[in-house]
Amino acid sequence: MTDGRLPSRLDGIARKLNGPNTLGNSKAFWIAFAVGMVGMIAYPLIRGSYAAGQTSLFLVYGLLALSLSLIWGYTGILSFGQVAFFGIAGYTYAIVSLNLGGAFGQTVALPVAVAVATLSAFVLGYFMFYGGVKNVYVAILTLVVTLVLETFMAQTAGAEWAIGSVQLGGFNGIPGIRNFALGVEGASISLSGSGFYWFVLALLLVAYLGARMLVNSRFGYTLVAIREDAERTTMLGYNVKRVKLAVFTLSGALAGLSGVLYATWGNYMDPSVFTIVFATIPIVWVTLGGRESLLGAIVGTVIIERLRLWFSVNASEFAIVFVGVILMTTVLLVPRGILPGIRDGYVFFSEHGIREGIERGRLTIQTRLQARLASLGVGGTETETPPSSEAVRE
């Protein structure tokens, strides 16, 4: 896949970025990606600073989605706990930055908060994976941890719940978190609107490319091996527990970074990030976009959040119903998510042409209908699987 005309260093980078574990390894993809990036960078200039500030939340959430894609899509560990690390980092950031105050406080609070989230992920992951907790039990335990955190933060309304000068505030949360700033007192830049947008965009880009390199490295192959068959991977001599713990910790760190940015974006932090609804949202993004695709996770995030924003303005009480419906229909109808679906379609049509594609679509519908009629509406539609992902990847 590497292009001989590229300078050798660029060639080396390209080889690290491309591989069987990511969608879009062709030159055409990277050109489209670059064009898309230019559009993203230019967005604040076209739509103005306020719109950019609003949109930057989607990018913040994109980091959270990436973290879930790594742990769930690539390693096969369903974690409802990403929002827990997200919230822990957000709260830590609020407490540290408000206690220290000033731009320096905020600059210090960022790494501290991410470190606390990482450590929490490490501790929880250690107890789970080295404790032999597997499959659904991981999902349940992470969910329970998140819900317990909600219970805890919700009852911190009293004055005795203060860390330094910061009241935890129970349901009301911690208000007055300042916009993110970098630097020390007197020589700092405060980030809001367009500035914050570009900052988050840069972080997301680095995280995305870094995650691509990761999943296409030897480590990434191990992750996919664990997803496909953990026992066999153990038999082949890999330390599955350690790899799981490593990726869980890493994705906890990524979720933590997202949480810090969330806290500075909204200027407050409250226990709603630990609720069961918020814990579901990342699952919805990643399911819709395609969990085995890093870009899909981000695209899914932007689509869902855009629609949720529309709902919250026009029909707020139906927003959650919509989220539930999207979740169910995606899993039932497009189990691999839309981006891999589109890619499969593209690969098929470019290989076989449109006529054959339509013909095959007709056949598929026919066989499905027949199967449906034969079983009198008793399922049996799962016989038609999309073409094997390994075979069609470039």
């Binding site: 404790g131 335990l141 329970v144 069961i276 119903v321 979740l327 899993v331 189990p335 008793v378 399922g379």
Partner: protein, 317 residues
């Protein structure tokens, strides 16, 4: 279940009062004991529907809390709107949820056997729709129907909550009888153990799955119905059962009756002690830590431990 509310049922709190009075006079800490009974009943009832569906079918129903909520809503609405007597309303709650569960199994869960995590996610989505749908249709809360039976004589403790312990024991006993002593139970367990052989022996495995799921859902509905008189009826009420029920499933392991009973007893006691001493949050944390320790030591939960003990005893004989 509901026969306890008849003429003899009305007397039960009085009898309990006498018994407790006797116990109190010999120095048994009654209030703590009542609290413990309450917690054990709560945990066992919260988990039973979930454990049946998980233990028998390997499916985690994340809409479990919403099924409980549905049972409570049907019960409350039957009493409030149609003025149906409470025991019958409770039966309706359990029955309605069971029917809903059967529909869900036929239309959704069936397509996802063998895709465990996917079935989790889909039921999760279903739970969201149910909660919010209920909120849209019935508003933020329903008028409560009031707790029958008053207080345990001599103590500031609801007599009804004490009766729930007997309800929990009754439910566990009934589940045990259904799955071990009836033709259906044998067929259902055969289906779970080896679907192909069961099919070859003439068992309609599709029907078994549907009925098992319906029973699990119905029991969740019954739990909701039983707690309807003493709980606040809000769309999100199912969530207050979630932590307890999932921790119980994790701790108890795959055996429906043994696991739930053992885990319910142990977790209920721990929860009661810690909640009494340090409040609700620490009680939940204690549950969580217990669950993690149990899984760390016993990969198959308490079921695994019980089986090991049984095997060892068997060897000795």
């Amino acid at each position: 279940m509901t026969s306890g509310f008849g003429a003899t049922g009305m007397l039960t709190p009085l009898i309990i009062g006498d018994v407790l009075g006797t116990l109190d006079s010999v120095g048994v800490p009654i209030p703590q004991l009542l609290q413990m009974a309450d917690n054990i009943a709560f945990i066992a009832l919260a988990a039973i529907g979930l454990t049946i569906i998980f233990g028998m079918m390997g499916v985690i129903n994340l809409a479990h809390g919403e099924f409980i909520m549905m049972g409570a809503y049907i019960t409350t609405l039957s009493v409030n709107v149609a003025s149906i007597p409470l025991p019958i309303a409770m039966l309706l709650g359990a029955l309605g949820t069971a029917i809903f569960g059967a529909i869900v199994e036929r239309t959704i869960v069936r397509r996802l056997y063998g895709r465990l995590l996917d079935s989790m996610i889909v039921t999760f989505g279903l739970g969201l729709i149910l909660t919010q749908g209920t909120r849209i249709i019935f508003g933020n809360s329903l008028q409560s129907i009031g707790t029958p039976f008053g207080q345990v004589p001599g103590y500031t403790y609801s007599g009804y909550r004490v009766l729930l312990l007997f309800a929990a024991i009754g439910v566990l006993g009934a589940v045990y009888l259904v799955f071990t002593r009836t033709e259906f139970g044998v067929q259902a367990r055969a289906t779970i153990q080896d679907p192909e052989t069961a099919q070859a022996m003439g068992v309609d495995t599709d029907r078994m799955y549907t009925i098992t799921f319906a029973i699990g859902s119905g029991l969740a509905g019954l739990t909701g119905a039983l707690y309807a008189p003493s709980a606040t009826i809000v769309p999100g009420m199912g969530q207050s059962f979630l932590v307890e029920s999932f921790v119980t499933v994790v701790t108890g392991g795959s055996s429906v009756l043994l696991g739930t009973a053992l885990a319910g007893g142990i977790l209920g006691t721990i929860n009661a002690i810690f909640s009494n001493l340090y409040g609700n949050f620490i009680g939940q944390i204690a549950l969580l830590i217990t669950a993690i320790i149990v899984i760390r030591l016993l990969p198959d939960g308490l079921t695994g431990l019980a089986n090991t003990v049984r095997d060892k005893l068997g060897e000795r004989q």
